[in-house]
Structures are given as structure tokens and as C-alpha cells.
Symmetry: C2
Subunit: 360 residues, 2 copies
Amino acid sequence: MDEIADQQPLRASSDQISEFAANALMAAGTQLDAAQSVANALTETSLRGIDSHGIRLLLHYIKAVQGGRINPNPKLAFTRSGAGTGIVDGDDGFGHHARYFAIDRAVALAQETGIGAVSVINSSHFGAAGSYVLRAAHQGFAGLGFCNSDSFVLAHDGRHSFHGTNPIAFAAPVPGEQPFLLDMATSVVPWNRVQDYLMEGLSLPPDVTVDSSGEPTIDPAQSDALLPLGGTFFGYKGAGLASMIEILCAVMTGSPHCSRLPAMKGPDFSTPRRLGHFFLVIDYRRFVSHQIYAAGMHGYLRDLRSQSAKAGRRVMAPGDREWSIMEERKQRGIPVMRCLREELDCLSDDLGIRRITYSE
Amino acid sequence: MDEIADQQPLRASSDQISEFAANALMAAGTQLDAAQSVANALTETSLRGIDSHGIRLLLHYIKAVQGGRINPNPKLAFTRSGAGTGIVDGDDGFGHHARYFAIDRAVALAQETGIGAVSVINSSHFGAAGSYVLRAAHQGFAGLGFCNSDSFVLAHDGRHSFHGTNPIAFAAPVPGEQPFLLDMATSVVPWNRVQDYLMEGLSLPPDVTVDSSGEPTIDPAQSDALLPLGGTFFGYKGAGLASMIEILCAVMTGSPHCSRLPAMKGPDFSTPRRLGHFFLVIDYRRFVSHQIYAAGMHGYLRDLRSQSAKAGRRVMAPGDREWSIMEERKQRGIPVMRCLREELDCLSDDLGIRRITYSE
């Protein structure tokens, strides 16, 4: 096989990917609804082109469930604590399962009271934060979701990693179109972006990472921690957002904060991580009529997308790129690189489940 | 007077500043409660050291009320639209007045239902976004506030200003201490920071502004628009947050978005700006006991503040710098530069009110 062909991904349909993921998780002992939640989230994320948080993570999740970190048969519980508030106990199961459950409860609260706030306790990693607020938007509600993570990012003026990459996700319905979708880490880039530069043998842009002594570096191999969004000069903004998210997801849920969380990457794969999350769901119809909302949203997005752009670029709204990738991947399938195909094939052999069939 | 003494600020007590502001606004026709709201907000902001949004803005507000943009005698109205939601109509009065009113309504909703969401319509500029969420925190609630503004900031990959500086403010109680307080524009810096560099004859850091053709510049005199937080490479994050805020504050309130707002700086000072705002207030006791919240908050802040820092720096929590400045200014008074003193003296002559007395 020549070098170039070797780098070309093969493709598999989203149905196949989703079925494979669910089968693998069930073969590892996960109950049906939890396995389906994880499979849905991973496939939807791969379809949107967020490969770092898509099907690639299946291997990690299998390891976490086999190691005992993840409870494969959780009993999710919802406690309503106010007309507009509630707490989901994830019972140390998959974060995806707990978060879908939580966002549905938050939507139900918002239907009733106009706004719902739901925290999640005893949870774990859940893939991409956007998947869950999207579920609210697809039901006609705006959703705002937060999560912390273990340490990858400097505090502002700090020298070593402290905060997690602590994402913010926001989705809102756009009548007649796919939803508006923002899903961003509060670090300059996510950690896996640094890995991409490393694998491609490229230097990083300046002001993205520091080395183990806290000095700026553009060498991905020397990178030890990420800078908060805003970089060296203005990182108090990214770090401030990360702090806000620690308060919402850890302090306000009684869960460990960033530097006290067991690391996602192990080596401990047996201790539950006790991650906390926080969600808000808003019924926009309590603030403005659907007609005025639709006109305002279309008018805003039209003005945004028609902004004069830099040479060779186009001004897009958050989500535009994802929806166009999804369109293409729904038609052509989800691309899977050789390295990942081999790992998934090994997994199917280990678990005794049918392999994915790829095409070009 | 020699050059150096000329640059030294003189100081006035916060009581004097507040009384002067209220008197000036009332002399310009503003009703008592509205004048007091503006005076409170400006003084509190100056005390925290945010001079760009403090007493300096009084002259602008007097101009806006005299020009007819601001209704000096607004009747604020609150319409409850759900158990957890409501809308404040600011009646084209001062944004400060409408926002204090709105945050108090949101606190009342959160007391009842666990979370309150309140939008504000027909409002105007309100100074610093932090002032209002602080009011929630001082009452024992977490507050999250958003506002858009007229165009100062590029869309990501854009060439000309489109979004406002669209701040996010978040405050949360810290038992036994001043609140946690984050108050940040979603641009790299606020516009007045560029003016500071200009006045001091300094070059800007790279990747902060563009000139009128959309090319990066470090010359404050050539700067025409701000980059979104994240700069040239990662500005999709700052721009994405700005977009979210347009949706919450303009689309969801039926108010004009960024590029459709009359400019704060005029020349039109007679047309009401119809700004929209959006607030969330959260009762943390619906998610965790006060004891666990207090322990979690103190533990998180202790870990954050004890992070190993770069040479000559100290890792601080959002708000730490403001509270230490406030302590000093409560003792020594609020510093006012000569240029502003002269303007305030002129204003007192014009309006026939008593001048501020300064000391060194």
C-alpha cells in the first residue's frame, strides 16, 4: 500500500458507526439505553465533523467501563428541587446518558415555567458539549450547557495546568434551518489540537501552550499545558470563564473541581470521576412571540453571514461549518483514518462483535 | 502648575461623587429613583477601579438625557410571563435603573422557583455589566448577565466592525468574603483600552485591532475595529460568544442587534436606542447545601489563588483586583484626573449644582 493511499480515510455510514458503538458498549456490559445514548452522541458528533470527540472516543469509553470507572448499569434519578430546578444523579454511569436525561428534564421544566436549570452529579465524560444543547434546540428551546474537566489549562499568570478545558455550549432554534450552535473550550485550543500539530510535524501558532516550566513554546512535543482563551496578555478572560464554569459545575454541585478530578486519561480507570455538569434551557416564547423571534434570528444571521470577509474566507455563523460537513457525511459516510480503523477492528475481535465495513 | 503634578489625580469621597452624579442627573430633569440608580452604578464601578465605566460616563449620560435619547421620567413595568420568567420594559429610561429593577425581579423569581430569567427591553447603556450581577450576589444568589452594544468588533474572518463588545458578567456569593465577580467584554479588549494606548503614545499588543481596510495594526490611531477574543486565529470563540449574546439580548427580546443599533457615541442623541438585556439569577441552595457550597467555593478559590505564578505576578480570582482597589478607594477616595475634573466643574456650572471638593 503506498504512503498516500495509506493516509486516505475510508468511510462508513452513520448507521453502521452507531450500531457498532452500541454493540461494543453492550458487549462490554453496558445496559441498552446507556449504550444507545453514547452511540448517538458519538455518531452525531462525528457527523458534525468534530472527530476529536466522535467515534474515536469509543475505545476510551470501553476501557473506562471495563476498568470499573463507569457503572454500565446506572439507575438515573431526577430530584426536582424547585419549580424551575432539579438535580440528576448519574450513578457513575456514562456522562452522555446522564446528560441526555438531564437536558430532557430541563426542557420539561422550561415548558412549564419558562426556564429550567438542571445540574448533573456523579457523572463522567460525555463527548462534545454541543450534543446536549442541540437536543434542546431540536425541541424548540435555547440551551446553555457547561462542564469542567481535569487540569489542562493555566490559570491566568499561572505556570502549570489548573483549570480544565471547561467548554461552554449554546444552541438556539433557527426556524426553517439547522440550529445555531456554539460549542467551545475556554482554552485557546483543545488539547487534542496540540496532538494534531504534533502528528503533522507542524509548529503551533504562538501563544497557545507553555512547556513544563511554564515558558511559552510553539513546539507541540514540548507543550505541557494550554493557555486560557486570550493567551498571555488577555487570558484572564478565558480563565475567568473557566472559573465561572468551575463554580457552576463543581462548587454548585458539590463535585470535585478541575485540579481535584481524577485524570480522564488515567492511569486510574477504576475510580468513578464524579464529574458535575450544569444546564439551562430557555423557552424564548416567554420573552417574545415566535414571529418576532424568527424575524430577529433570520435578520441577525443574514447580517452576520453577509459581512465583508478577509481574502479567501467567508464569515459564518457558529454551527454553519458543522451543518455543511454533516450534509456531506450523511451522503458519503463518516471518514475513518487507518489507525482508528485498525483499533476498531481489534475492538470487534476482542468483544466478538461484527466489524464495520468501509468504502472509499 | 508643573507637568507631573498636572498628571496626578485628586481624590473625592464616594459619597461626594455619588451625590454629585445624582444632583447633576436630577438637575437635567431625571426623576429621583432613576438618578440614584445611575449614581449608585457609576460610583460603585469607580470604587472597583473600572474607571472607563465609572463617573467618567456621567457627562455622556447628561448629554443623552438632554438630547432626548433617554427618558428622564420612565415608568418601569414588569410582566411575569412564566413561573421563572419575566420582561422589564425600561420605557427608554436609563439602563442602570431598568437593570437594577430587573435583577431584583430575577432574584425574587429565583427565591420562588430556584431560577429566574428576566429580559429588559427599551433600555439604554447601563455602565458596567458587573454592577447588576453583584446586586444578586450580595443578596446570596448567583447572577449571569448579558448585553450587546453597537458595532465595535469584527465577526470572525470579517474586515469591519459588526458585533458589539457584548459583555458577559457573572457573580456568585463567597461566604464570608466579597463575591466572585467576572465582567468581561467578548472582544480582545474594550474600545476604551485602545484610547488609553493612544493617549499614552504606546503601540498596542499584536492581534488586538484592525485598521479601516481590515488589516491588523498595532497603531491605536489607525485602529478602526477590535478583534473578537481569541484574535486572528481563534476569534471564532469570542465572536461565537458575541453571537450568543446577540441572540439572548436582541433576537430573544425583539430588540435591534449590534449593527442595527444607533451608535452610543452619536451623533444622534435624540432617538432612544432600544437596547435589550438578559439576566439569569440562580439559587444555589436548590442544587447543594449552603455548607457544601461554602466549602467547595473556598476550596476552589484557595487552590486557584495558590497556583504557582509567573515571575512578578500573582494568580488571582476574578474580582480580587477590584476588591483590593475598592478597599483603598473607600479609604482614600476615588481618583479623578485633571481633564475629568475640569469637565465635571463645567457641568456643575452649567447645571447650577455644587462642585465636588477634591483632596490629594
